[in-house]
């Protein structure tokens, strides 16, 4: 994580003081609900179904042990002992009380955290690859870029009232684990032999009601121009984005309406006024941020599998299953990255209890360098674990229900909080997720399906990212009853939007429908390496649709 200096600290404290004053005036009746709303949203506070919900920013998904302990403390003190990690690498508390929120923000500020701009029509928390800085396939560490964007966007005076929310994602690895194609701005780091570091700039992607994959408006933006170019994009959007209809207000609609060529010209023209100006980055600032991103002091370890680990892998099938499923290659020999699944059958997807957060903080110090990552798949990650420590870590995880070996699998269900909590939702997500966990409890069969993203959103706002799920489920409301629309063939990267297979289904029908489609997939796939979504891409949705809507019909083998 980036360590604040005294100025960063002062700014976050001044922000808390301002919100404390606004909350006081609201509670005293001096500030109306309508006037207070945008300001509370910009400080992370929604009014929800049962209670206000507070969304705390976890900038680019990186936490220190002491920060996670503070999140646990907040869950215990101000909520019901649980926090929900979101698809945007943030954490939400569903039971906070409005008069206590300034105190919660003050408690966050003490550990260099905030809830700034986690909601509202402004630039939101920047997201990135959850393996940033530790992935073996990394070209550039995206955390420096993310921190530059965090600082640039925090309290930006010009862009606090955009037509709509604005989400930026940065990816620095070969594999795009940040879903840059479906963000308002997606930045892919590029290392150019002659010009050094730069970004490929994609604009106008997004999910929601009108899902779109972004358009590339610049193949290579030299890194020093990052902030002036972002200013130019945002200014064009702020001035010309639609404000008459919130469903047509995202930048993707503007890019489509203008055409990407004209949008690009507008941005370039605007940029000329600011290019090479004072906001042009200097090497010293990049170096300053790099120095403040605490880098682990890795030991020099042998690259192979240590003997004790090999023995455990040989003896213990559960352990070896977890080992195969929940680890991700590390760039430093002898180390690995471990996914702690928050998708055990008994827990709502993405939820962690205060006690779990506390023990995870302890493990991050015992087995790593005191750092934890939040993935947009709503899991927590311990980076920097020595291979030789894996048996001890696994034994620690098991009693806490954090060793479910399902990272990347069907049961790693990605889901928004849905109608149980969210006032916007048309349908509940959590009971459906539970029903699917129960139906697909045969872990061997689930593993045989290979990598499969199953995403559930309770409404069109698409917080569960159902459009880019290999299987996406969208909750809809029909005459006051919950139904679910199923789409298949989506992918996060390269971004691809799923196709709806047919009329929506009742909650009872969904598990059967998935079962039928998965059986079709097992018959049709060319080999076990062909993912569900790639089979759909190859053969089309018809065999899957027929399996769901004409269940008696036999599917011919390919």
């Amino acid at each position: 994580m980036y360590q604040y200096d005294e100025i960063d600290q002062r700014l976050v404290e001044e922000r808390v003081a301002r919100f404390r004053d606004q909350t006081r005036r609201f509670l005293a009746g001096e500030l109306s609900e309508d006037d207070f709303r945008p300001f509370r949203l910009q400080n992370g506070l929604y009014i929800q179904r049962h209670a206000p919900m507070l969304r705390v920013a976890i900038p680019y998904g990186v936490l220190s042990a002491s920060q996670l302990r503070r999140l646990a403390w907040i869950a215990r003190t101000h909520d019901r002992g649980v926090g929900h990690f979101t698809t945007r690498q943030n954490i939400q508390y569903n039971w906070v009380k409005l008069p206590e929120v300034p105190d919660i923000l003050a408690a966050l500020a003490e550990v260099q955290m905030h809830a700034t701009q986690t909601s509202g029509n402004c630039v939101r928390n920047t997201t990135t690859d959850h393996f940033a800085g530790v992935a073996a396939d990394e070209l550039v560490d995206p955390r420096v870029t993310c921190e530059l964007i965090r600082q640039w966007s925090t309290g930006h005076p010009e862009f606090a009232f955009l037509p709509r929310k604005f989400k930026i994602a940065v990816n620095g690895a070969r594999e795009d684990r940040a879903a840059t194609g479906v963000h308002d701005i997606g930045l892919q780091a590029v290392q150019d032999a002659a010009q050094g570091l730069g970004y490929r700039v994609q604009v106008g992607g997004g999910l929601g009601r009108t899902p779109m994959v972004g358009e590339i408006i610049r193949e290579f933006l030299p890194a020093r121009h990052l902030l002036t170019y972002l200013d130019a994009i945002l200014r064009v959007y702020n001035r010309y984005g639609r404000r008459d209809n919130k469903y047509k207000a995202r930048i993707k609609i503007l890019v489509k309406a203008m055409t990407v060529e004209r949008f690009q010209r507008e941005v370039e023209t605007e940029w000329q006024h600011w290019k090479e100006g004072p906001a042009t980055l200097v090497d010293e600032e990049v170096a300053r941020i790099e120095a403040r991103l605490k880098k682990p002091a890795y030991r020099s370890l042998p690259a192979g599998i240590p003997a004790a680990l090999a023995a455990r892998l040989h003896q213990d099938t559960d352990f070896s299953t977890w080992f195969r499923q929940n680890l991700h290659p590390h760039k430093v020999p002898g180390y690995t990255n471990v996914t702690l699944s928050l998708k055990s059958p008994d827990q709502p997807p993405g939820d962690a209890t205060a006690d779990q957060m506390d023990v995870i903080s302890d493990w991050s110090e015992r087995f790593g360098f005191g750092e934890i990552r939040v993935s947009h798949e709503q899991n927590l990650i311990l980076p920097d674990v020595a291979l030789s420590d894996l048996p001890a870590l696994y034994d620690a995880l098991c009693p806490w229900g954090l060793a479910t070996p399902n990272a990347g699998l069907l049961t790693n269900i990605i889901a928004c909080p849905g109608g149980d909590y969210c006032a916007l939702a048309n349908a509940r997500s959590l009971p459906l997720a539970k029903a699917l966990q129960d139906r697909f409890s045969d872990a061997v069969w689930v593993r045989a399906l290979g990598l499969l993203d199953l995403n559930i959103s309770g409404c069109m706002n698409s917080c569960g990212h159902h459009h880019v799920g290999h299987i996406g489920i969208l909750g809809v409301d029909k005459h006051g009853r919950e139904y679910y629309q199923i789409s298949i063939g989506g992918a996060q990267a390269p971004a691809r939007l799923g196709k709806v297979i047919g009329p929506s289904l009742t909650p009872e029908e969904v598990p059967d429908a998935l079962q039928a489609m998965l059986e079709v997939y097992l018959k049709l796939r060319l080999n076990p390496a062909e993912k569900f979504t790639d089979t759909v891409e190859r053969v089309g949705i018809v065999p899957f649709r027929d399996a769901v809507y004409a269940p008696n019909q036999e599917v011919a083998c390919a």
Binding site: D5, E6, I7, R10, L11, E14, R15, R18, Q22, L31, D35, P38, F39, N121, Q151, W152, T154, G155, H156, P157, E158, F159, A160, F161, L162, L227, R235, N238, R239, R243, H273, G277, P278, A279, L281, V282, E284, E285, R288, A291
Partner: protein, 165 residues
């Protein structure tokens, strides 16, 4: 006379909206751009200001920037952020030196950002007071971004003060 905040001082508001049936005598007069283009050839006493909406194209104002002492940007709803961009463009791209005044849905919680975007005059909305507006200004001791208020980003100040590392 009602009061406004200009350059962080509470002062009487001397500006009156132009109306065609009014006799043209002295005093500070606010015109819509079309109104001003129609009457600008006629000599008159008093200062001239323009009244524009947040979607005003600043390019159309360019020929008049030297002759107007004030540009009043009408913010219909405080959640319309276009005025913020217009303020910055007028100051930082077009070099406008006169007063830029926020009128409309202007209250204590909106003025800080507007000031950073180049506004130096604020007419409080009905029910709001100039004293409250003053309380809403200058809330933050630093800022990361460049703006009219601070033409250099924080990272350049950090460099020159040696607080980096």
């Amino acid at each position: 006379m009602r009061e406004v905040v200009v350059n962080r001082h509470i002062v009487p508001d001397t500006w009156v909206r132009f109306s065609p049936d009014q006799s043209e005598e002295g005093g500070d007069r606010l015109y819509r751009l079309e109104e001003w283009q129609e009457v600008r050839a006629q000599a008159r006493e008093g200062r001239v200001g323009l009244w524009v909406e947040t979607d005003q194209d600043p390019e159309a104002l360019r020929p008049h920037l030297a002759e107007v002492a004030l540009i009043a940007i009408h913010i219909g709803s405080f959640t319309d952020g276009r005025g913020h961009s217009l303020g910055r463009l007028l100051r930082e791209v077009y070099g406008y030196q006169g007063e830029i005044r926020a009128v409309g849905d202007v209250f204590q919680d909106t003025v800080n950002d507007l000031e950073r975007c180049g506004f130096n005059g604020f007419l409080p909305r009905p029910g709001e007071t100039p004293a409250n507006l003053l309380r809403g200004l200058g809330l933050f001791s630093e800022a990361y971004q460049i703006s009219v208020e601070r033409p250099e980003p924080l990272f350049r100040r950090r460099l020159s003060h040696g607080s980096g590392g």
